[in-house]
């Protein structure tokens, strides 16, 4: 239980930073995007709580706004991947036969492939070819979320399928079928609730994976494009300034660490609570 609490505490802390970002901007009287070249690499102090970056933007403020992007992409990607994965796992378990074989071979194939280079390849696709405007922060978030979902559903689908096969073979499902319950109602009302626990664990791990993957892509310059802040691209900026502002590299990494550790702790706590 302590793991679950600690994990939730970390996540709530980060989420409140995301919510409080505009309020902090008002308090500091600054814009997270507006450059101020005279404040370049300002040391941590009264004016800039954590110092300023290479364009004189407040690091604490960018960290708070970065939480919106990083947590937003992580949660959206994990939520979509969990929904898709549950649906696919449920379909595979229910239909069986060639549908099951095809879907699970697809999952095996995706798991066998090296994820990172493929993510890099996909991230370099031009959004303009799909009619999305280039260079908008929102486009970047949709683009990265979509890419992460393409890979993220696999883990959830395998767990959901395994759980659903067990439930579909149980006596109460046979009883429900004998009573003439329609297949759709059977799946939604009698099978799906039984999958809550494994799907919740897989979902929490998916959030951790998505936050980490987004930060890696943004760090490589393929994710969220500047000037919009994300923890990943803040680290990319900090890497350029290891001489001028070595402390700038500390905070975004700690934020990613806290987010990923928080999700892992929640997943760990949830799976322990089941036993």
């Amino acid at each position: 239980m302590t793991r679950l609490r600690l994990g939730l505490f970390l996540l709530v802390l980060l989420a409140s930073a995301a919510v409080a970002a505009p309020w902090l901007a008002g308090l500091l009287g600054r814009d997270p995007l507006a450059p101020d070249l005279f404040a370049r690499y300002a040391p941590p102090g009264a004016g800039f709580p954590l110092g300023a970056d290479e364009l004189g933007r407040d690091l604490l403020l960018r960290l708070f706004f970065g939480a919106r992007v990083s947590l937003g992409v992580g949660l959206a990607a994990a939520l979509a991947a969990t929904l898709l994965g549950t649906a696919i796992g449920l379909l595979a378990a229910w239909r069986g036969g060639w549908v099951d074989a095809l879907l699970m071979r697809l999952a095996d194939g995706l798991l066998a492939l090296p994820a990172l280079p493929i993510l890099v390849l996909l991230a370099a696709i031009d959004p303009a070819r799909f009619g999305l405007p280039r260079g908008e922060a929102m486009t970047d978030m949709i683009r990265i979320t979509t890419i992460l979902v393409l890979f993220g559903w696999v883990g959830v689908a395998r767990l959901a399928r395994a759980g659903a096969i067990t439930i579909l073979a149980s006596d109460y499902v046979r009883a429900a079928r004998a009573l003439g319950v329609s297949e759709a109602r059977l799946l939604l009302r009698h099978v799906l609730p039984g999958l809550r626990a494994p799907v919740a664990v897989a979902g929490a791990l998916a959030v951790a994976g998505a936050i980490l993957a987004e930060s890696v892509l943004s760090f490589l310059g393929l994710g969220i494009q500047p000037p919009a802040p994300s923890w990943g691209n803040m680290l990319a900026n900090a890497q350029e300034a290891v001489f001028e502002a070595p402390l700038a590299a500390l905070w975004p990494g700690l934020a990613i660490l806290a987010a990923v550790a928080g999700c892992s702790l929640v997943a760990d706590g949830l799976s322990r609570a089941r036993r």
């Binding site: 066998a112 493929i118 390849l121 370099a124 070819r129 490589l220 290891v242 990494g253 892992s264």
Partner: protein
């Protein structure tokens, strides 16, 4: 097991097809890049270049031509490096294998030692658990930046990245990247070793060996570890395969010309042929490592049945 090879081949074909179309969706093609590089090129020249290199053909036709060339053993050229692709891929693969091999070996040694310690002294187990959580949650590129700031910038002990002058030792240049990758891996190994050794130490044959008066160190290292090592070795092989491409971030950070950085540079520089072949090569390496892991497990533990 024999069914695995066609499966690998099919996956590679599907991957190459998917990647081919993904590359088709990227901005810019080689001809328009040539135009940017050389202001003397007129639009008519670019059209001629497109026709000359077959860039005016539909994507699928170009894919067919590319596969036919591949089957004849023509890997083609890298536009970015102006060299045959093989000449670029080979040294990159070697560099990555050295990096990953050293990192996995180091992580395994430290991880197993920590795991053994935790299995022998259960009071230390929460420490290993905490370390494992940390190791999995720390973004490796962040750890790498902190290493650079501390060991290269502040202390000046080690180079921040790149490669040594020809003829001098490459070891100092390997320390920080190896440490970065190893830290991410060793926590997982420690956790696995703790669990596997803990389970092994409960077994009756251990009690009998202890009853005959063997020292605790001998019990753990000589009798429990070999049995616990089977799943661990599988894990090592899997990780090594995944890291051939997973080293991408570390290689980019430390400016090491390995497979990962090559792939990244090729994608960024619109060097399609190189990007595609590098992707297929790392995918093949990953899948072969998985196969090797399964075979090794079969060989080490004959009780596991062949499917």
């Amino acid at each position: 097991m024999a069914a695995r090879l066609p499966q690998i081949a099919l996956t590679l074909v599907l991957l190459s097809l998917a990647a081919w179309f993904a590359i088709g969706l990227m901005p810019g093609d080689p001809a328009s890049l040539a135009m940017m590089a050389d202001p003397k090129l007129t639009p008519a020249d670019v059209e001629r270049l497109r026709a000359l290199h077959g860039l005016d053909q539909p994507l699928l036709a170009r894919y067919g031509a590319w596969v036919l060339g591949l089957l004849r053993g023509e890997l083609g050229f890298s536009r970015l490096f102006a060299q045959p692709v093989w000449m670029v891929l080979w040294p990159a693969l070697l560099s990555t294998l050295v990096l990953v091999g050293m990192a996995v070996a180091l992580a395994a040694v430290i991880g197993v030692a920590l795991g053994a310690l935790a299995a022998m002294r259960p009071r230390l187990a929460p420490l290993v658990d905490g370390l494992a959580l940390l190791g999995q949650a720390v973004p490796s590129f962040w750890l790498g930046i902190l290493f650079i700031i501390f060991f290269a910038v502040q202390l000046g002990w080690l180079p921040a990245g790149g490669l040594p002058e020809p003829g001098s030792s490459s070891l100092p240049f390997l320390v920080l990247p190896v440490a970065t990758i190893a830290f991410g891996q060793l926590a997982g190994y420690a956790r696995h070793a703790t669990a596997a050794l803990g389970a092994e130490l409960q077994k009756p044959f251990i009690t009998s060996i202890r009853a005959r008066g063997a020292g605790e160190a001998r019990v753990v290292w000589r009798h429990a570890l070999p049995n616990a090592a089977v799943p661990l070795l599988t894990l090592l092989a899997l990780d090594a395969g995944a890291l051939v491409s997973g080293a991408l971030v570390t290689e980019t950070l430390f400016a090491r010309p390995g497979m990962g950085k090559l792939l990244y540079d090729a994608v960024m520089g619109n060097d399609y042929n190189l990007a595609l072949l590098a992707l297929l090569l790392v995918a093949l390496a990953t899948m072969l490592a998985t196969l090797a892991a399964d075979l090794a497990q079969l060989w080490l533990d004959p009780r596991i049945e062949t499917r």
